[in-house]
Symmetry: C2
Subunit: 413 residues, 2 copies
DNA sequence: CTACTTAGTTTAGCCAGTCAACAAAGTGAG
DNA sequence: CTCACTTTGTTGACTGGCTAAACTAAGTAG
């Protein structure tokens, strides 16, 4: 309510070109889906089928036609037609030319209407807010950064979102705010970084922009970004390395948040019991974070605001190299037990870690596979993909209540 | 095919009193549910609603009536009536008197038809097979033990099952065979203990008794037994201590089996890095199992065949006490990281561990809470409940494909 | 005895599927 | 070029499973 006077100074803008087709349809769509969601078990089959069809159109690598939808869903061609008709009426799908003949009539190709709708993403950091508009193909069509001096206020976040969405309101399908800290059910339970506690942020944003809003933790958001191409049911363990260490588990396209919403908080679990006891900032010693956080490995010069280039510079010193070996060993300990317990498809090391380069990853893999426990298969470990837009995860999280995980938001597929 | 000549000698029998009502209905039920399962998304709503109603009747502590079902499901009273009518026709539910008036007409109470149907459970051990018939209230109405000398044969298991079910065929709803080793999708992938590999056991049993059969791992079966009163969505970590160490994660009423079906195989993960390196039978050293298995703590005299009394005798020696402290410390290390990652509702120490008594559990809790990691809440740790029949987990696993997890099989509720 | 409350059934109608017939638009053989 | 055949997609009659609303049944309270 006060902070934005000084804040508006640091505003950076980007391109803004979005088709204005289907302006009036949004409210229809939302009303329809909202109603169906209520009835859930009863008439919700229609919704389920619509989303299934939508998902096929978005995900199938081969061109999708009404006939393909009928075959892959097991529904009648009549039903497939009716589903597609509704999706087209909703503005979510468009016909794009005709496919080659396969011995009969040429089919009509279907594609997601990429720019008919938008998702709002706001990433709240300690001293800045990044806002972005993402279209249904996952492309960032607009983004702004707002530097905030002296304490982050909820009102500043709302204003930033409102400023970016101005004029696009009818196209906005959903919103997601990413914050550091513990979140649950649209509420910021506690964010030490922001100094917030029990803020019902989703409700506030929902009120402000008139579209369903969600709130997600930064580590969880990153895990969702890395799970963009999730085959359903695949379990993925994503570890975030930054000033701290956190993790998240995705099961298919959804997060496992645990009984109290604190699943993945492994930073201050003790993994080092022998030799020099590493003192941690939390007061304990031997914590995973005290060995494996970027700050522990690269020194206090490291902050989460650094770019990849500066980070890799820090990582090139001899001292850093040695600390990285120690960090890798500590992380490997945590990963061995975690992967034996969960048996995940893969382990992703994300956050700022990719800037550490192949050496750290190699060391980590070596350490991880050093004790090949009988009965367990070593799980592939890879870095997070920095080429993925960080807005993808939050955007998918935002869409979940509206469209399930029908849209992967990945353009190249 | 050969072994049962000497085997039939050691047969022990128990009571056998089951109502023979509704003999002819079974095939109808199975056919109906099988058909619905095929159509799944399409006409499966009916099935879903039938199971939901069945679940309410089984689980709700207060007496359930048609009106209650209507209220709790959100369906119309008309639909609730029709669902109940069908459940009664199927023989799964019975009317039991009338409830008190709450200001109007007295309602008709509904209850599960406890003994109309039966589930067959077979527990295959290295030198014996336990078979049991469990009714829909979870009561064991018949059980036998067959001692097997010289190598366990698949045919012996089938014969044992057939021998117990003889005469009850029309009432048998489903079957489950519990085996030690790795299982997946009805196949015994590998069982070192039995010397089996790639045995399609579910199919074989299904053929033999004409009812859907499943195959489950012993640790998983135990975890399901401990999760009998699972609130939906609750995550539970169950650790089995026996000659080896294993774990299982239940999410609501279902198991998390991981990407390759090996989730929970934490026995040979290294947790001890300092001091005396504990040599493990697997060839590595510092494994969890080398410190925390019952054999490691109680000495080679321990076997999984021992009863609780003999086990606790072994545990009372001074040497065992000291080893138990060491084992508890090792297990605590594994539990700290596991619980931080999963944030489960509770941790259950099962297998033969309850025989170790309160001292071991107390030590374990103390060790576990010794490093209270910031941001994580200590998770309650308890022993498995020996009073629960070991057939409950397998019976629920058997029912899953037929009735979902509608029936908790717990009589006292 | 009457008004009101709660339980449960019956009847008509609707929604979202299926099935089957058909129109539309292509291919390839003669 | 024509005709038989294939594949795509639409249309209309039918069906299952729900809702809504009227009704019956059986109780309580004034």
């Amino acid at each position: 309510m006060q902070a934005q006077a000084s804040a508006t100074a640091g505003t950076t803008e980007e391109t803004m070109t979005v088709s204005t087709a289907g302006l009036q349809r949004k409210s229809d769509l939302l009303r329809r889906f909202a109603r169906n969601a209520q009835f859930e078990a009863q008439t919700g089959i229609r919704r389920e089928h619509l989303l299934k069809a939508l998902g096929l159109i978005a995900r199938e690598p081969a061109p999708v036609t009404r006939a393909v939808i009928a075959r892959l869903t097991g529904l009648t061609s009549a039903t497939a037609s009716s589903l597609v008709a509704e999706l087209i009426a909703l503005g979510l799908v468009v016909e794009t030319g005709r496919a080659e003949s396969t011995g009969g009539k040429r089919a009509t190709r279907l594609e997601i209407a990429r720019d008919a709708y938008l998702v709002v993403v706001a990433v709240v950091r300690t001293r800045a807010i990044d806002t972005a508009l993402v279209d249904l193909a996952g492309r960032t069509v607009a983004s702004r950064r707002l530097d905030v001096a002296g304490g982050m206020e909820v009102a500043t976040v709302v204003d930033a979102i409102r400023a970016l969405t101005e004029g696009f309101e009818p196209q906005v399908l959903a919103a997601c705010v990413q914050v550091p800290g513990v979140t649950a059910g649209g509420v910021v339970v506690e964010s030490v970084q922001l100094g917030w506690r029990g803020v019902p942020l989703a409700g506030i944003v929902e009120e402000a922009i008139g579209a369903p809003a969600s709130v997600v933790n930064d580590v969880d958001a990153e895990a969702l970004t890395e799970a963009v191409d999730a085959d359903d049911g695949a379990i993925r363990l994503v570890v975030h390395l930054g000033e701290g260490v956190g993790a998240a588990i995705t099961n298919g396209g959804t997060l496992m948040s645990g009984a109290t919403g604190r699943a993945g908080e492994i930073g201050h679990v003790r993994v080092i019991y022998e030799g020099e006891r590493t003192r941690c900032r939390c007061g304990l010693s031997g914590c995973l974070e005290s060995a494996t956080s970027m700050s522990a490995m690269l020194g206090d010069a490291y902050t989460d605001e650094l770019d990849d280039h500066d980070t890799s510079l820090l990582a090139s010193t001899a001292e850093a190299r040695e600390r990285m070996g120690f960090g890798a060993r500590a992380l490997a300990r945590a990963l061995r037990i975690s992967s034996a317990l969960l048996d995940p498809e893969e382990i992703v090391i994300a956050g700022a870690a990719p800037a550490l380069g192949p050496h750290f990853l190699g060391t980590l893999r070596d350490e991880y596979e050093m004790y090949p426990a009988k009965g367990t298969t070593p799980v592939p470990i890879r870095y997070g993909r920095p080429e993925l837009s960080e807005y993808l995860g939050p955007a998918r999280f935002a869409l979940a209540p509206v469209l399930g995980d029908a849209l992967p938001l990945t353009p190249a597929r």
